[in-house]
């Protein structure tokens, strides 16, 4: 699975216009670490709803940029939270690593 699906990314660039793709990438790189942090916190406080909502947002953004793998991981966590299941093993660490790769690649795609 590719880290960033180029077709999706190019569609996004086309829709937002080249001028705004940097703004979008920055917004994502700004917000996503907070979402992941919120998920860690929610895990500690057993706040299933907050965990689910942050996973949902991360999934939504990942899909917007064509970060397919990150999207799948976030979606899986969202669904586990929906089932009230926070026994997620090392999934959050895997997600964090994947986000690191996505962030690196997106930084290089700024215009």
């Amino acid at each position: 699975m590719s880290i960033i699906n180029r077709v999706t990314f190019n569609e996004l660039k086309q829709m937002s216009g080249a001028d705004f793709i940097n703004e979008l990438i920055d917004a994502f790189l700004d917000d996503a670490p907070d979402m992941i942090q919120n998920m860690h916190t929610a895990l500690d406080t057993k706040d299933v709803e907050s965990f689910r909502r942050n996973a949902h947002s991360l999934k939504s953004n990942a899909n917007t940029f064509g970060a397919t793998e990150l999207g799948v991981l976030a979606k899986e966590l969202e669904f586990m939270a929906k089932e009230n299941n926070l026994e997620i093993g090392n999934r959050l660490e895997v997600l964090n690593e994947t986000f690191g790769k996505v962030a690196e690649e997106l930084k290089g795609m700024r215009i």
Binding site: T8, L12, Q14, M15, S16, G17, F20, E23, L24, A27, F28, D30, D31, R53, H56, S57, K59, S60, N61, N63, T64, K75
Partner: protein, 346 residues
């Protein structure tokens, strides 16, 4: 890409910054003016402060989610007419269905497809413009209550039978008046005259639903049923005569032509409903009662009485309205003679 449509003032509500930027930029690129809100509370504050044409509303939000915002808007008379498009991810389809059932205008899946975004936004804006225009139109022809009711119940073009009082009124020998004076004066006269007649009709819960030349048709007791519509119609007629007196005094003072009118009212079953197309509809009534009211109005000239009514109308009046019986009349197209009554102007 520029849109061929008129721009609107849009509110994008999403807790997610990427989504906000994406939607806002896409819409701004289409020429719209866009404001954003990060949560439901902020959205409602902005909606109450400014007149937006359309809202794009995320479902998943902390504090106050999309449902709650949608419900609040639909219950608020000031906000319920603003179209709301829900934005959601594909796996929230159940929530989307619920929102559309509640009264959301439409929905869009995220990540949003730019072509669909443009199409749905423009379609919703267009629909809102039509509704706004229809409301404006209704408000000039009917009371605020009737206009609101019509907008609330929607524009089903189907008809139904209703019991109502139908009024026809026109100016005597108007063709001659038109031939004698300047066209500008004639149109001015008509406009001033109609303004007064509308006031009397709308003030007595009537709806003017047709204007043709110097004639008008009004209906009482429909589209919204009201007890006492017979009396409302007759009181409107009396007020019309009263206002006409003042009008003629002014006309005479300006050395302009004075006019006489005839008013005919009949009550009974009419078929009422919206006719036309989705884009241009009018509330109209047809049936025997309507034909009878028109015949009675024509008869005012011969009877030399300004206000004539049928028996059923006369039976619905309070005692302070003076009525004189003129006996049975045989009208064209009617098998039975109709008892006609003249109402005495004050």
């Amino acid at each position: 890409m520029k849109s061929a449509h008129e721009p609107g003032y849009l509110l994008v509500v999403d807790d997610n910054k990427v989504n906000r930027i994406l939607l806002a930029r896409g819409l701004e690129g289409d020429g719209h003016k866009v404001e954003t809100a990060e949560n439901g509370k902020q959205a409602l504050d902005k909606l109450r402060r400014d007149a937006f044409d359309l809202v794009l509303l995320d479902i998943e939000m902390p504090e106050m989610n999309g449902y709650q915002v949608l419900e609040t808007c639909l219950q608020d008379p000031e906000l319920r007419d603003i179209p709301i498009i829900m934005t959601s991810s594909l796996d929230e389809i159940d929530s989307v269905v619920k929102c559309v059932e509640l009264g959301a205008e439409d929905y869009l899946n995220k990540p949003v497809n730019p072509i669909l975004l443009r199409a749905r936004v423009n379609a919703s804006l267009e629909k809102k413009r039509l509704r706004d225009e229809q409301r404006k139109l209704f408000r000039t022809f009917a009371t605020k209550e009737v206009a609101d009711e019509l907008l609330k119940t929607g524009f089903s073009l189907g008809g139904k039978y209703v019991n109502a009082s139908v009024m026809f009124a026109d100016i005597r020998s108007f063709t001659t008046i038109g031939e004698k004076q300047d066209p500008t004066d004639t149109i001015e006269l008509l406009n001033n005259y109609f303004a007064l007649m509308f006031e009397a009709i709308i003030g007595n819960n009537g709806t003017v639903n047709q204007l043709e030349g110097d004639g008008l048709m009004a209906i009482f007791g429909a589209p919204i049923h009201q007890d006492g519509h017979r009396e409302h119609a007759v009181r409107a007629a009396l007020e019309m005569m009263e206002l006409l007196k003042g009008f003629n005094v002014e006309q005479a003072a300006q050395n302009k032509v004075r006019i006489k009118i005839g008013i005919g009212i009949a009550t009974g079953k009419v078929i009422a409903g919206f006719t036309g197309t989705q884009y241009r509809a009018t509330y109209t009534c047809v049936g025997d009662t309507v034909n009878l009211a028109a015949r009675i109005e024509e008869h005012t000239k011969e009877a030399q009485r300004p206000i004539l009514i049928d028996q059923y109308t006369s039976e619905g009046l309070s005692n302070d309205i003076e009525v004189e019986t003129l006996g049975p009349m045989l009208f064209k197209g009617k098998k039975q003679a109709i008892h006609i009554f003249a109402v005495k102007p004050n």
